[in-house]
Amino acid sequence: MLFDALLGLLLLGLAWLLLSCRDLFKAIVLFVAFGLLMAIVWVRLDAPDVALAEVAIGAGLTGALLMSALAKLPVDNPPGRYSNEKTHWLLPLTLALMLLLVASGLGYALWSLPVIAPGLSGEVAANLEQSGVSNPVTAVLLNFRGYDTLLEIVVLLLALLGVWSLNSLDATPATAEKPANLVLDTLMRLLVPLLILVAAYLLWAGANSPGGAFQAGAVLAAAGVLLLLAGWRLPTALAGLPLRLALVAGPVAFITLAALTLLNARLLELPVEHAGMLILLLETFAMFSIGVTLAALFLGQRPQERGGSA
């Protein structure tokens, strides 16, 4: 009880610190710390699946993405330059009033919730046997609410397309070949195979314990980020069609299955006898695509292709 209260207060304090911090680098570090604490909160709430995703994607990969974005910002951009502008006293007052209104509305909504709200967990538990897996989170994500996951994966792909199309506006030259740092290189060679193994384990474990495609994909992406940081670049022969195939493998697998199930007029309703196999297959493709997409987001620009422009 005391621990939870302390955790909540710490979370609020960190959130305030990172929002009010003028140094962008410091704000990113605080954001990562916030993500780690948030993961502990999820563990305390008995949601290890969300905690894993929060640590891998929320703290780890988003932190790396923010850092790479910060590195691309112009250096002469003074942080907090908006704070010195004189604003009329009416603006902060109006904002405070509006925020208060929203907060009281949310508070009222929370207050009027029933104390014991089982939600749909009972129905999930009752139908778990038909889902093909024994982890209820995986059952919901991949079977009962498969179309949500389909849309999430497509959103990730759209984000990458957005980054790529923005980046073609100013063609940044590919990074020059640097002599690789020996320690970083050795670390990468030790860790990348291990990360691939962990990703495979998380994918397999997702059927009956916390884990799954998103967590495994994030671990794969971490391997990609490590490779990119160590100076490794995608061979130009792979940057064209093979990369694009890897990016769309997950969505295509999902959409194919959706189309096949639609033949029976039941969208993404998996047949009970093959459900476990289908979920594993779907998750494998999804993990692959999620990993490649997240790593490509970290790179932040279209990789150089053979013969073509970047």
Binding site: N181, V183, L184, T186, L187, L190, L191, L194
Partner: protein
């Protein structure tokens, strides 16, 4: 509480002390190199003691193996990252602290 409980409590507290010392060093030491020294030394040993304390309580050898794997990974990453940070600081021309 039996003897193994006391032993793991002792190990965990000792580990916590190492973390405390490392954090104190991070906050109080004068430059980046001494801070790195405090952090890596303390965290490696501190985490090792914690892993030992938790391993005593583990139900199976598989759990002990996982704990040891985590410690090994942290050792590897901690040592490498400390070197990378110190190397980067040296290349940027950050001087060593002198009294």
């Amino acid at each position: 509480m039996n003897i193994s409980d006391y032993l793991s409590a002792l190990l965990l507290i000792a580990g916590g002390l190492f973390f405390l010392a490392g954090t104190l060093g991070l906050l109080r030491f004068p430059d980046i190199y001494t801070r790195l020294h405090a952090l890596t030394k303390a965290d490696n040993v501190g985490l090792g003691l914690m892993v030992a304390g938790l391993a005593i309580q583990a139900d199976s050898w598989a759990v002990v193996g996982k704990l040891l794997l985590i410690w090994g990974l942290v050792l590897l990453a901690g040592a490498s990252v400390a070197y990378l940070i110190a190397n980067g600081a040296l290349k940027r021309g950050i001087r060593l602290w002198r009294r």
